[in-house]
């Protein structure tokens, strides 16, 4: 008999606005769009159900991302978000962009994850930090390193 709470509305709005970004990003973890869609649905369902555990200390989107990663990794049999379980570079389709796929494959796992969160999930640095539980400065430094690696790899590609 409750009225629809504000958090319900915020989650719905977030879902309608961003479910595509969640799917695209999580496909890199699950290996397929269909599995990613399922993970996104489950993540938002858990967020709806367990919304009391959202204390409002960070952003709502960051909180849902954390849930989504847990669900995605859980679907692969993992319980925690660990560096060893980071997205496969295979998400960057080598047939569509061989150079980028090769460049991404050359990134360290944490760099790869942060790059994905930055470019596929379009998350700002602070939210990437929230999702991964690391400092914003670490995100910034990691992205700088990744940029450096990618620029080098892709510049060589341009010259070639």
């Amino acid at each position: 008999m409750k009225e629809m709470g504000k958090l319900d509305c915020d989650l719905e709005e977030l879902y309608r606005r961003r479910h595509g970004a969640f799917q695209v990003m999580l496909a890199s973890v699950t290996g397929s769009r269909e599995a990613a869609q399922d993970v996104v649905q489950e993540a938002f369902a858990r967020a709806l159900r367990d919304q009391r555990s959202f204390r409002g200390e960070g952003s709502l989107e960051g909180w849902v991302w954390r849930i989504a990663f847990r669900v995605a990794l859980g679907s692969r049999g993992s319980r925690e978000l660990a560096v060893g379980e980071l997205p496969e570079a295979g998400f960057v389709d080598a047939e569509r962009d061989a150079a980028l796929a090769a460049a991404v494959a050359g990134l360290a796992p944490q760099q790869r994850l942060i790059v994905f969160l930055r470019y596929f999930a379009d998350l700002p640095y602070a939210e990437i930090g929230e999702v991964l539980g690391i400092a914003t400065g670490t995100v910034s430094a990691t992205i700088a390193q990744a940029h450096s690696h990618l620029r080098t790899a892709l510049t060589h590609e341009v010259i070639a």
């Binding site: 309608r16 479910h19 858990r46 962009d97 980028l100 470019y119 620029r151 892709l154 010259i159």
Partner: protein, 432 residues
């Protein structure tokens, strides 16, 4: 040598992004509630344990999980789909029903053959609900489909209907009650009778995305007898406090048999006393858009007028009421009759307004006075007045405060005060 900027990298990644599959918020809600099932089961078990232990519990609503409820049969889904098509005129292109997700909530068939069936379906916005209600009794029944969005539910937090005896619009008794209640905190509903007694009726509260209660009740046969009939349905909280109330009235025999009685809403017949050949439209200008015409008919030394609304959605032309001057009338005027909410859906919403109809003495005019000191004089047409307050008089400080019927010699024949605080009349207008 070229280098890659952040923007160039972003563009290159973006070009790789695959088109996401379509989202489905309703499916998310369904999953969330499926996860709640266990919790609900535990809550119900706890409640049963408390009852077994003899705890003093209020009647309490029975809480059911919408997505776990039985899917509505195909005919109900089709009925909702038909509603979606046919109600497009009322709602625009966005009749907000998700017919495929309809669930049966109440399905009762009683030994006497009467029955009540209620199915609900979520809306495309996830807020409010659509409902199919069918009730049948010994003398007929009712069947309706409608969608109620949050605004509507705030205005009408409870809506009982059911199978009645007598005229559908002016029932002489109720064989069945069924309907919804959306007042937060509702514990159960009470049926109050003319003899002062009342009965408690449990409510089945349906979880999100419906978040409303539903009830059905079959009063004993004695409650069809005058003096014992239902006079109200009241939604109450656990402490017995009334949260919403819907009254019922019954026309007396004299009224039912009156040859000068304008038939009820939606009935286009004229009173038996009127000569059909005399019926003609009245040239009244400035009518609201939902009034198609005002007609006048004469007979036996009296006359009647009737307001007709244009086709709206499922409805064809309907009578919005009117009035009569009978030959036996000792008064030259019937009292002005005020309009409250018009009750019609226009563009998917109910339209509200304040206005009045009436018949005034020959030669009289009607003077309107407003909060801001302005006045307006309305000339009747063949003694008939049909007037709707214009929207520029909806704001506080400008509202209608008084209506006077002034005779030709300047005498005030009738004076009616109108409370500008009656917000119910101004729901569509600005209320600063």
């Amino acid at each position: 040598m070229s280098t890659y900027s952040d923007e160039m990298l972003a563009a290159r990644f973006a070009a790789l992004a695959t088109e996401p599959l379509e989202g489905d918020w309703l499916a998310v809600q369904r999953r969330a509630w499926q996860g709640h099932r266990r919790k609900l089961t535990l809550m119900l078990a706890a409640a049963l344990a408390a009852i077994a232990a003899g705890s003093a519990l209020a009647l309490g609503p029975r809480v059911v999980d919408f997505f776990s409820s039985e899917p509505a049969p195909g005919r109900i889904v089709r009925q909702l789909e038909d509603f979606k098509r046919s109600a497009a005129l009322d709602w625009g292109d966005n009749v907000p029903v998700v017919a495929s997700e309809a669930r049966t909530i109440i399905d009762l068939v009683r030994p006497d053959g009467s029955s009540v069936y209620i199915a609900v379906a979520p809306t495309t916005t996830g807020k409010g609900f659509c409902m199919v209600l069918t009730a049948s009794g010994s003398s007929g029944g009712t069947s309706g489909t409608d969608c109620n969005l949050p605004d509507e539910l705030r205005r009408t937090p409870m809506q009982p209907g059911g199978a009645s005896t007598g005229d559908p619009e002016h029932p002489t008794g109720w064989e069945d009650f069924a309907g919804y209640v959306a007042a937060p905190g509702t514990d159960h509903v009470e049926i109050h009778y003319e003899d002062g007694s009342h009965e408690d009726v449990p409510v089945t509260w349906v979880s999100d995305p419906i978040d409303a209660g539903f009830f059905a009740f079959d009063p004993a046969a004695e409650h069809l007898a005058e003096g014992h009939r239902a006079v109200a349905v009241v939604a109450v909280d656990a402490s017995g406090k009334a949260l919403a109330r819907t009254p019922f009235t019954y026309p007396d025999e004299r009224t039912r048999n009156n040859p000068w009685r304008i038939p009820p809403f939606s009935d286009l017949r004229w009173p038996p006393a009127i000569d059909q050949t005399t019926i003609r439209p009245l040239p009244i200008f400035g009518l609201p858009s939902w009034v198609e015409k005002v007609e006048l008919g004469r007979g036996d030394g009296g006359f009647c007028f009737r307001v007709v609304t244009p086709p709206l959605g499922l409805r064809t032309d309907v009578s919005f009421g009117g009035g009569c001057i009978t030959p036996a009338s000792s008064e030259p005027c019937c009292r002005l009759r005020y309009w409250g909410p018009t009750g019609e859906r226009i563009d998917g919403r109910r339209t509200w307004g304040i206005g009045f109809t009436g018949i005034v003495p020959a030669g009289a005019t009607v003077e309107l006075r407003f909060e801001d000191g302005s006045r307006e004089t309305v000339q009747p047409v063949e003694r008939v007045i049909v007037y709707l307050v214009p929207k520029h008089h909806y704001a506080r400080g400008t509202r209608l405060t008084e209506v006077r019927v002034v005779l030709a010699d300047g005498t005030v024949y009738q004076r009616e005060a109108v409370s500008p605080k009656a917000e119910i009349y101004y729901r569509n207008g600005p209320t600063p």
